[in-house]
């Protein structure tokens, strides 16, 4: 092997090594920071892990919003019309949060099966349904009919 080839081989090895380290670190960071989505039925079946952050989504059950009279703590139920999960959240809910609206909550499951949410997301379009929620509803066979106006888009 002549000197030039040797130099090239070293360069290639360095690049391969550098790239693998970068990919490894990225994969590690990724695996630490992904949040899996679970529907209320899956949570009810006990399929959701208790010790990591998860996302859960569904429709907010009518009449289920209970507020603490002295703080910003609020509890509500989300459902895929098969099962429901109680979500607890302290803070300001998004503008479009309301009963019957599809939302996604991010947080950890408590031992009693309630989701202690650190974030509640409702999208800024009144006809918008988070795709995860839409799919969870479709799987439970409970997809509500889309409102007329939504078809224009």
């Amino acid at each position: 092997m002549n000197a030039q080839r040797k130099q090239r081989l070293t360069l290639v090895l360095v690049i391969v090594l550098g790239a693998s380290v970068a990919v490894g670190l990225t994969a590690y960071a990724l695996s630490q920071n992904i949040n899996l989505f679970y529907s209320p039925s899956e949570i009810y079946m006990g399929e959701a892990p208790k010790d990591t952050r998860i996302r859960a989504g569904g429709m907010v059950v009518e009449g289920s919003i209970r507020r603490d009279p002295t703080s910003l703590r609020v509890e509500f139920d989300i459902t895929d019309y098969a099962h429901a999960t109680t979500v607890e959240y302290t803070g300001i809910l998004p503008d479009l949060f309301r009963e019957g609206q599809g939302i996604v909550a991010q947080g950890m499951l408590a031992a009693d099966g309630r989701l202690i949410a650190s974030e509640v997301l409702a999208k800024h379009d009144e006809n918008y349904m988070p795709p995860e929620v839409a799919e969870a509803l479709a799987r439970a066979g409970k997809m509500p009919p889309m409102p007329e106006a939504a078809k224009g888009y």
């Binding site: 970068a22 670190l25 990225t26 960071a29 990724l30 630490q32 920071n33 992904i34 949040n35 899996l36 989505f37 952050r53 996302r55 507020r67 009279p69 002295t70 703080s71 910003l72 302290t90 803070g91 300001i92 809910l93 503008d95 479009l96 949060f97 996604v104 999208k123 800024h124 379009d125 009144e126 918008y128 988070p130 795709p131 995860e132 799919e135 106006a149 224009g152 888009y153």
Partner: protein, 651 residues
């Protein structure tokens, strides 16, 4: 009648764009000068007819023509006229029309501003731009025409523009961002033309530099405006969410930043040629990918309104065609490209290579984080989301490392720079930066917070190392006046842009670490204190707006016990859609913002209220503004014109 005229002129523009993408290209190959000469008038024609289409759509909005589906879905008689105009790009169809109109603007600009380029090159460049225009026009006409009608019956009143979009931000953010996105097609077209002609030389880099700088400047400004808009409009005071749609604009920006640096090396030294071409291709492909991500509805995002698989499929097809085609061309041609000079391991070239590697790596990392959930979903491996911690964990170290190199590159020289020279030049800026960073971090907060100290040190490092470079250049001049005026505009542009990075870094570090917020339940008379400020809630009253009703809160703010000002956050209900919106009350300042947003009404007249103290948040957008100014200033350097002339004289 008018909307049909719009469709008609869109079709005419398509016909001209198709001719533009064929005739000059064939002319350039066969050496038919007459055919190549068609490129300029055809570019003007495309621009003319697309402008007519834009005016037609604006007319439909201004006259409340609700027989047009797009107008009925995105406007309302009560909407003020300036929002009616900007509602043109408030939805999917119109924003595509804006996209292609801006493409026509860039094509026109290239046609008019490039009198000095060889004719066969300009013919090829305009042809490639014509192809892009034609593809997007096909997309508009087949899947998403904004001129489609409701027939026979149509609504008497429009559904109104999404209240979130009824804001100054909508007027400025999308056009600026698109100017940047689409402007990258110029660099792309120059690269493709150079590959096709086989003349990939320093002259090519010189032609495409000013265009790339301007596109990059607009992209920076567009992203900055988007961040500023999200900050005050969404009501929770964030300025960057690592939302997929934000990432879609950040990725082309990162690659475009690498591109403007790589172009500099190619122009000055004749090396990195094939790499530069690859960057130019990637930058535009990423902006197409961004369009695909935003417009196909595959994402869960604040921007993802339209969900129509057919549209996504069309853009995906176009994306595959553009990426595949240009990479194939690259694979065939790039092998024959030869470097014109060599450089040593310790030189400005190497340092700029490091800059390029770090920027592309960070872009790849953002790309992985953005596409990973889509891939997992497509493979049925579960629905996941990738959170901000992932992006922060990788992006912050890479960028910190890059800033270290940014300072070293400032004083380095082309071809070869002795490491001992770098040490001699930089030990003082380095020591000063660390001292200043530690002192100002401690002076601000009374503690040495790691990330803030690091951020401030890096910002000082940028400033001091570039000051060193400026001093090197200025010291040989006779007088201070000569030293200041004899530097070129492109040099001052570079200084401004790098200063912008320093300002941005200060903003990011300070606001990320020292932001303070309180979410409180308040009834009239309640008060809350933090950071020398006292906030007294005086209650809420009803206010009527043109197309909304509002609960307007009144909050008195005391600074160190003295009355400071009164702030009025609002909770609005937009009547047409019955949609509620938070209208934030802001007290902006160079060193801190006070930010008050109202949540929902609780029982017994209590309101949920969010109070935030955001130090140095304005510096984020100030940094983006400085970068924009820097990009434009350096593109306006007269040497680009002068050297173009010289190139012609030599030919």
């Amino acid at each position: 009648m008018i909307p049909e005229l719009g469709t008609f002129s869109t079709i005419l523009a398509l016909c001209l764009a198709v001719i533009l993408s064929v005739v000059p290209m064939v002319g350039a190959y066969t050496g038919n000068k007459l055919w190549v000469d068609y490129a300029r008038p055809l570019s003007k024609g495309v621009f003319f007819f697309l402008s007519i289409a834009m005016v037609c759509l604006a007319y439909a909005f201004l006259t409340n023509d609700f027989s047009v589906v797009y107008v009925a879905n995105g406007s309302n008689t009560a909407l003020p006229w300036y929002f009616k105009i900007s509602a043109i790009w408030g939805g999917h169809e119109g924003s595509l029309l804006l996209w292609v109109w801006i493409q026509a603007v860039w094509t026109l600009a290239v046609a008019v501003k490039s009198r000095n380029l060889p004719l066969d090159i300009i013919g090829r460049v305009l042809s490639v731009m014509g192809m892009i225009t034609a593809a997007f026009l096909l997309f508009i006409l087949f899947t998403s025409s904004p001129f489609e009608r409701f027939l026979p019956g149509y609504p008497m009143e429009g559904a109104d523009l999404n209240p979130l979009l009824q804001d100054f931000g909508l007027i400025v953010h999308p056009p600026t961002l698109y100017m940047g996105y689409v402007g990258l097609s110029v660099a792309f077209s120059f690269a493709i033309a150079a590959l096709l002609s086989g003349r990939l030389d320093a002259a090519w880099a010189r032609w495409s530099r000013p265009w790339t700088n301007v596109a990059w400047a607009f992209l920076s400004l567009g992203i900055g405006l988007g961040s500023w808009w999200a900050y005050y409009e969404l009501g929770w005071g964030g300025w960057w969410f690592w939302d997929p749609v934000e990432n879609a604009s950040l990725m082309p920006w990162l690659v475009a930043t690498a591109l403007i640096h790589s172009l500099a090396v190619t122009e000055k030294r004749g090396v990195f040629k094939s790499w530069t071409v690859l960057l130019a291709i990637s930058a535009f492909c990423l902006s197409l990918l961004g369009t695909f991500l935003v417009r196909s509805g595959v994402l869960t995002s604040v921007h993802a309104f339209a969900t129509d698989p057919e549209r996504g499929l069309f853009i995906l097809g176009m994306l595959i065609f553009v990426i595949g085609g240009s990479l194939l061309l690259y694979a065939i041609r790039a092998g024959s490209v030869k470097s014109e000079s060599t450089f040593s391991l310790s030189s400005r070239e190497s340092l700029l290579l490091v800059n390029n590697i770090l920027l592309t790596v960070s872009c790849a990392m953002v790309l992985i984080g953005t596409l990973y959930p889509l891939v997992m979903d497509a493979l049925n491996l579960g629905k996941i989301s990738v959170g901000p911690p992932y992006f922060n964990a990788l992006f912050v170290p890479i960028m910190s490392l890059m800033i270290v190199f940014m300072g070293i590159a400032a004083v380095s020289r082309w071809k070869n720079t002795e490491p001992s020279y770098l040490v001699k030049q930089l030990w003082l800026p380095a020591v000063l930066a660390i001292l200043a960073g530690v002192i100002s971090s401690y002076a601000y907060s009374g503690i040495l917070e790691f990330w803030v100290t690091l951020g401030l040190t890096l910002a000082y490092w940028i400033v001091f190392s570039w000051m060193r470079d400026y001093w090197n250049r200025a010291r040989n001049r006779d007088s201070l006046w000569a030293a200041v005026t004899k530097q070129s505009r492109s040099y001052y542009g570079m200084l401004l842009a790098h200063l912008g990075v320093a300002v941005l870094v200060v903003g990011v570090a300070m606001v990320s670490i020292f932001v303070e917020h309180r979410d409180a339940r308040m009834v009239a008379g309640d008060q809350l204190e933090f950071r020398d400020y006292t906030f007294i809630f005086d209650g809420v009253r009803k206010v009527e707006g043109p197309n909304y009703t509002s609960d307007m809160g009144r909050i008195r703010v005391l600074y160190k016990g003295e009355p400071y000002r009164i702030m009025y956050p609002e909770k609005r209900i937009y009547t047409a859609r019955g949609m509620s919106m938070t209208e934030v009350a802001l007290d902006p300042g160079l060193f801190r913002d006070l930010y008050i947003a109202m949540g929902e009404e609780l029982d017994n007249g209590a309101w949920a209220i969010r109070l935030q103290y955001k130090p140095f948040v304005r510096w984020l957008w100030l940094g983006a503004l400085l970068m924009t100014a820097g990009g434009i200033l350096s593109a306006s350097d007269k040497r680009y014109r002068r050297q173009n002339n010289r190139a012609v004289a030599a030919a």
